[in-house]
């Protein structure tokens, strides 16, 4: 490439990044126009005839010619005919393309060109391509053909014109401005969906980095988002796939804690379904289920987003139904308040005992959507109300229901986070319920719930509301352990490499484990949490990273042992500020695993197939489906059967 072209390329490549606000406005505009178009579809939708391709010449122009009566056109016809025009045609090198005209035999054909031109372009100089004729590239065709033939493989017509020999291809599709170009800006401000995710966890070499530390995560939003995408016929955005949330979506029957600790950890080692030469270390944590009858009264503040964007069947109406379901599960002594935020925040229902259900239901029904969203103003009010409701020993929680938009007030997740952190320390927690698709701001949802010691759930169906709000009511609302951190130290003598599947957004620094100031995830009553490592034993043919030639090879310093690693858990009891430590060795003992273990492995595979299947080699959908199907177990609520259905859907969508 010449230097000129190189410089030109550099210049052309250096374009500014799109402005985020403009982007969001433009996408919103396009989506509004799209929606409008659907409304008036029959009228607005052009037929295929309006975008002429080959057939155009035979239909449109013929018709045009038949009705061609304007004086100018007729004059042109005549004058051109009398000129005895010689017609040039451009035959580009190597191309079979080209409108093959004939010598100006029939005037009507020339008028075709002129008329077409007049139709397509009011001001000709800018519309035409002025192809600089090059010597040797032009041929004068003297041959006579019966009719213009468009042997054009593309959708423009080259027509011949003027006695000056210019060759003018005319763009018949240059009718762009016929469409609604400058529509006014729409009122709503969807920002598109934003997801919180990190690159998949890389493979770690035990010798170099033996310790893996992360925070537990009991969110389930990612699974519901994936389900919503798949049932609508799309593969989800890989960024929306958080594997640990998929795994933790399902209830598992891990051994319940005995004794004083609030949860029990169980470690199982099984053969990796997708790689016979590696193993999965499966860590299942089961939270205790306190006797429900004795639970302290709940103080719930529903903070409901009633912005304009919530006005869709799967948003506000579904939210109302969900809350109705949940009300049935509350005790007479529980308290409920409702705050709406839409432009200005407002208390819809003052704290009311759950026994007065008709009053609460009436207030719920009053909620209507409309106006902009001021997330923070509503949040402040909800927290203020929650604080007035709180008595000693009681749990207060704000339940924020939104489609994810916080576009007035603090829209910066960091600022919102710090607000919620402060409130969390004063004893009010926050859970976030996401509704609807389109402008779901997953990143903000995550940030809020994570810092409010709560759960982020995405509610796409009433069944999901039943699961998140009713079946797991106590868990979602009643924490039993805070800041639960997991640290695994692998033994370099037995484990060559390892990788944590999922938890990308929850990774902690090694030193954070013992630092009680560092926040981490919380476990609610009866919650189970699962973490899975894929490990490659020393000497396995699956070892990916070779040992260094010059590194210290004195493996003898490691005591050969059956210990693959050592699991440490830290947690705080609710209200405490210092953590307690639990420790368990991970022994080499590969077993078949029960249904729970195998099902969670299948879901780990499912997640990787959706996100990044680097480590799966040829293990695919069929294997994932078979594994999940064989490990459904009791499946009381049909969650696992649903997962298998989703895998089948994903398989056909991916076309594999």
């Amino acid at each position: 490439m010449s230097d000129d072209l190189k410089a030109l390329k550099a210049l052309l490549q250096d374009t500014p990044a799109p402005d985020a606000e403009k982007k969001h406005e433009n996408i919103a505009l396009a989506e509004k126009n799209f929606a409008d178009l659907q409304g008036s579809r029959d009228g607005a939708r052009p037929t295929s005839e309006t975008k002429p391709k080959r057939g155009w010449l035979n239909t449109g122009v013929r018709a045009l010619l038949n009705s061609l009566t304007t004086r100018g056109a007729l004059a042109a016809t005549t004058s051109v005919a009398t000129l005895g025009l010689v017609v040039f045609v451009l035959l580009p090198q190597g191309g079979s393309e080209g409108f093959l005209p004939k010598k100006a035999k029939a005037p009507e054909d020339v008028s075709t060109a002129i008329a077409t031109e007049e139709m397509a372009a009011e001001s000709e100089p800018t519309l035409q391509y002025l192809e600089a004729p090059k010597e040797g590239q032009l041929e004068i065709l003297e041959q006579v053909q019966p009719a213009p033939r468009a042997s054009v493989a593309a959708d423009r017509m080259m027509a011949t014109g003027g006695a000056n020999g210019q060759i003018r291809p005319v763009h018949p599709i240059a009718n762009f401005e016929d469409h609604n170009i400058s529509r006014p800006m729409p009122e709503f401000d969807a920002d598109g969906e934003t997801y919180a995710n990190e690159a998949p966890n890389p493979l770690k070499v035990t010798r170099e980095e033996p310790v893996s530390t992360f925070s537990i995560d009991v969110d389930t939003a990612s699974y519901s988002i994936i389900r919503s995408s798949l049932t609508n016929g799309y593969l989800p955005d890989p960024e929306a796939v958080r594997i640990e949330e998929m795994i933790n979506y399902f209830p598992y029957n891990y051994p319940a804690p005995a004794g004083d600790v609030p949860f029990q950890q169980t470690v199982t080692m099984i053969e990796t379904p997708w790689n016979p030469d590696t193993s999965l270390v499966h860590i299942g944590i089961q939270g205790e289920m306190p006797v429900i009858d004795n639970r302290p009264p709940l103080n719930l503040v529903f903070l409901v987003d009633t912005s304009g964007s919530m006005n869709q069947p799967d948003k506000l109406p579904l939210l109302k139904q969900s809350f109705r379901l949940m009300l049935g599960q509350l005790r007479p002594e529980d308290q409920v308040a409702i705050v709406a935020y839409a432009g200005s925040a407002g208390e819809v229902l003052a704290p009311t005992a759950a026994s007065e259900s008709s009053k609460i239901l009436a207030a719920l029904d009053q909620l209507e959507s409309g106006g902009g969203t001021a997330g923070e103003a509503g949040l402040e009010q909800a927290y203020a109300i929650a604080e007035t409701m709180q008595k000693d020993g009681e749990v207060s929680r704000v339940l924020l229901a939104t489609d994810g938009d916080f576009n007035v007030g603090i829209s910066d997740p960091d600022a919102l986070e710090s607000f919620i952190k402060t409130k969390r320390d004063s004893g009010t927690y926050l859970s976030v319920l996401g509704f609807g698709r389109g402008n779901l701001n997953d990143a903000t949802m995550q940030a809020l719930a994570q810092h409010g010691n709560g759960q982020a759930a995405y509610i796409d169906t009433l069944a999901e509301a039943q699961k998140s709000l009713v079946d797991q009511l106590t868990g979602a609302l009643y924490p039993i352990a805070n800041d639960v951190k997991i640290q695994v130290e692998f033994n370099p003598a037995t484990v060559a490499e390892y990788r944590l599947i999922g938890y990308e957004t929850r990774i902690l620094n090694r030193e954070d484990f013992n630092n009680d100031k560092v926040d981490a995830g919380d476990i609610g009553a009866g919650h189970s949490v699962t973490a899975i490592y894929e490990i490659t034993p020393v000497g396995s043919p699956a070892v990916k990273v070779e040992t260094l030639r010059y590194s210290d090879e004195s493996a003898a310093e490691f005591v050969p042992s059956d210990e693959m690693g050592f699991l440490k858990l830290r947690f705080k009891r609710p209200g405490e500020t210092t953590s307690e430590l639990l420790e368990t060795p991970i022994n080499r003992n590969e077993v078949n695993g029960n249904d729970d273990v195998r099902f969670s492995a299948a879901i780990a595979g499912f997640g990787q197939l959706l996100r990044d299947d680097t480590y799966l080699s040829d293990w695919g959908w069929d294997e994932a489906i078979a594994l999940a199907n064989g490990a459904k177990g009791q499946d009381e609520f049909g969650y696992r059967a649903e997962a298998v259905t989703l895998m089948r859907l994903a398989k056909s969508l991916q076309g594999k």
């Binding site: 799209f34 580009p92 090198q93 002025l130 599709i173 991916q654």
Partner: protein
């Protein structure tokens, strides 16, 4: 790992709003980049992008899946830029735009600024079809075949146009005495 553009585009052409949104988000940045190259300055590029976004739903109703979606989108964008230029701008103004953009953008590096400014002016003097071609080939890094499909000309024409661009730049050099 994701649904291909053509499937989404056909779904959108049949009225699927979610598919439309997904598709537009997937291609917005690329579209904006192309608009910058076509328009020559950021302000114009933003207006052009907005025009395209506004009209895209109606355009997409015509998408039949006989070309790749990206090819189709490039075509729509280029036609829109022609329309816009026709409606709004004279050739001279377009030339100024390139110059302004450059002057504002790269002031910190004198030499580079000079070079770019020269090029920017040079681009603005190219005939429209050469400019479109050079934007697709150098700016978007498409192959000659892809560019040909978008502009509805043969590969050979694209090759010839690129050689014309080279000639044009050389001639511009000599005339303007740079460097």
């Amino acid at each position: 790992m994701e649904t291909d553009d053509e499937t989404l585009a056909l779904a959108a052409a049949n009225g699927d709003g979610e598919a439309f949104g997904l598709l537009l988000r997937r291609h917005y940045d690329r579209l904006f980049g192309l608009c910058c190259r076509l328009a020559g300055n950021t302000t114009e590029a933003e207006d052009l992008t907005q025009d395209i976004c506004a009209a895209l739903p109606a355009k997409l109703a015509n998408f039949r899946g006989d070309a790749k979606f990206t090819t189709w989108l490039y075509r729509v964008a280029i036609n829109a830029s022609h329309d816009r230029r026709r409606r709004r701008a004279t050739h001279a103004r377009a030339a100024n735009n390139w110059g302004d953009w450059e002057l504002n953008r790269v002031a910190e590096n004198e030499e580079a600024a000079q070079q770019s400014d020269w090029l920017a002016t040079a681009i603005s003097t190219l005939p429209v079809e050469l400019r479109d071609t050079v934007i697709l080939i150098l700016g978007e890094e498409l192959t000659q075949a892809q560019a040909g499909e978008i502009l509805s000309v043969s590969e050979g024409t694209i090759a010839w146009r690129m050689s014309e661009v080279k000639k044009h730049l050389r001639a511009y050099h000599q005339k303007e005495g740079y460097p």
